[in-house]
Symmetry: C2
Subunit: 314 residues, 2 copies
């Protein structure tokens, strides 16, 4: 086999999933649509080895998600023992979608290094088994993920040229979150009396979001994205015990953005399973949004992103 090095980016969902149909098959209960980012990058190198070896950000690790993924992949494909070296230029497991960029880069590099010859859709399917949102990082721009029977469909809704949006990521706590997304989703599905209502209303948010993207209607997109985000965190709060991923800086950032919105600055927030705030904005507002967030108490760092590309093989 060859050596392969691949870079991939995380993606931020504008309409999110929270809950899987079953852990093994890793199929979300509801559709989602995301924006692939630039700037934030995971770079993964795969090469042959005597034993499987996983090195993340320079540390030899035992990563259960990667081990299960390899086990699954080997049932379908010929993959010898490999060494996986992965590095990200942003904090992992803290709500910045590192598993999306990570499994996307991993699936593409295994396909390359092992010469599996898979098409993009098949690689996306392989990435999805590692992390459902990783399938969305397989394309540039705006990408949808839909549960479909025993699998999912994933497709580029619009290429990145469709709409020049910007994202300012406000880091409020770079530490690993206390409850992983996988564990959190299982808790919500098992214990929240609101899960059914969440599932039922997400389809409407999804359609509304596609329409806002089609029309490049920022105000409409703001409303549906904030509503869907708050609904997901509402669902988390109704789990037993309650899941609270927000930190003081999260709410401080929301207050800052609310002040900008009242001054007609085109920006809106979304928050994933972690305390970081992602402020979407139109290009002309990016400087203002970043400056305000950087000066918000509790925000320790800001990162500027635009709409990014799919994985790149080096």
């Amino acid at each position: 086999m060859n050596q392969a090095t691949v870079s991939a980016h995380p993606n931020i969902a504008l309409v999110k999933y929270w809950g899987k149909q079953s852990r093994g098959r890793n199929i979300p209960v509801s559709p989602s649509v995301s924006v692939t980012l630039d700037t934030l990058t995971t770079t993964t190198t795969v090469e042959q080895s005597f034993n499987d070896l996983v090195v993340i950000d320079g540390l030899d690790v035992k990563n259960e998600k990667i081990s299960s993924w390899l086990e699954f992949a080997r049932k379908k494909y010929e993959i010898p023992p490999i060494c996986i070296r992965s590095e990200s230029n942003f904090p992992a497991s803290s709500g910045l979608a590192s598993s999306a960029s990570g499994f996307s880069a991993l699936a593409v590099s295994v396909n390359q290094a092992c010469g599996l010859g898979l098409e993009d859709q098949e690689v996306a399917e392989l990435a999805r088994i590692g992390s459902a949102s990783a399938a969305r990082s397989m394309w540039s721009g705006f990408v949808s993920l839909n549960p479909a029977g025993e699998s999912c469909t994933v497709e580029q809704v619009y290429p990145k040229e469709h709409w020049d949006l910007r994202v300012v990521v406000a880091i409020t706590d770079p530490r690993q979150k206390g409850v992983s997304s996988t564990e959190g989703m299982e808790r919500s599905v098992a214990t929240s009396s609101f899960h059914e209502a969440w599932r039922q209303t997400t389809e409407g948010d999804y359609q509304e979001c596609l329409k806002a993207l089609e029309d490049r209607d920022f105000s409409r997109l703001s409303k549906v994205a904030e509503r869907n985000c708050c609904k997901m965190h509402g669902l988390m709060l109704t789990s037993d015990p309650p899941l609270i991923y927000w930190k003081p800086g999260t709410l401080a950032a929301l207050d800052s953005l609310r002040i900008l919105q009242e001054a007609a600055v085109p920006t809106f927030f979304t928050i994933d399973a972690g305390p970081q705030v992602k402020a979407f904005c139109l290009p002309e507002a990016a400087d203002t949004v970043e400056e305000h967030l950087r000066n918000t108490p509790g925000v320790t760092q800001t990162i500027r992103c635009g709409v990014g590309d799919g994985p790149v093989v080096h």
Copy 2:
């Protein structure tokens, strides 16, 4: 008519209501149970006047809730034009239940000053028309409020001697909240897809809470109170537009309490429609809890309370 001066305390619900059956009759959709506090006090004086006059904390005000309440009360009872002077020793309209102590003190003082000769239950009914939670402030200790047909039943579940609980109120933002409880509840009932699930599951929380109170089981009470509180704030988040009453200091206080809980300190939180955190605790933990909350960034003041009495006529 005579002059009457009455003091009453706010109460903090362990299982809360959020949503009314109809605005006019002011009947919550679900049962609630509360603890009447001491320390925090509203004192109201009612006396005859040439015109109706409302003076709150020294300021002449036009208070629509009080005007509607007087209009309602005059349909049933002989009430001449009155001057109402009301003072509270804590911030109003910021999630500290000032409307509960306020309308409880008002109803009792009108009954006294106008010689209406009403029984406690009738006064409670009158207070409830002003603010549903005010009916719970009519008794000491632990009080329940249950919707019942065209009205409600309110009763003392246990007197204050039943269980010596303490409450440390952590003020994180003393300003008036942006969206009143009345308006917020209407928004949630009208727009949240989770409202039905909230309504259906509150009865279970209510029964669980009564059982925990009966057994003086602090751990069981902690779980149900935190779960019910987070579920209510989850419901608020799923409203459209989302209702976020929390501030950075709210989450900082929750983090502080979580650390104490992990060190086996008997304490739990509850939060009403506002950013303040109420930390319930056993007497031996009150010093520790207050010290930790006072040293939490974002907490501007702490107030120590115990379980309090019903209204007192001076």
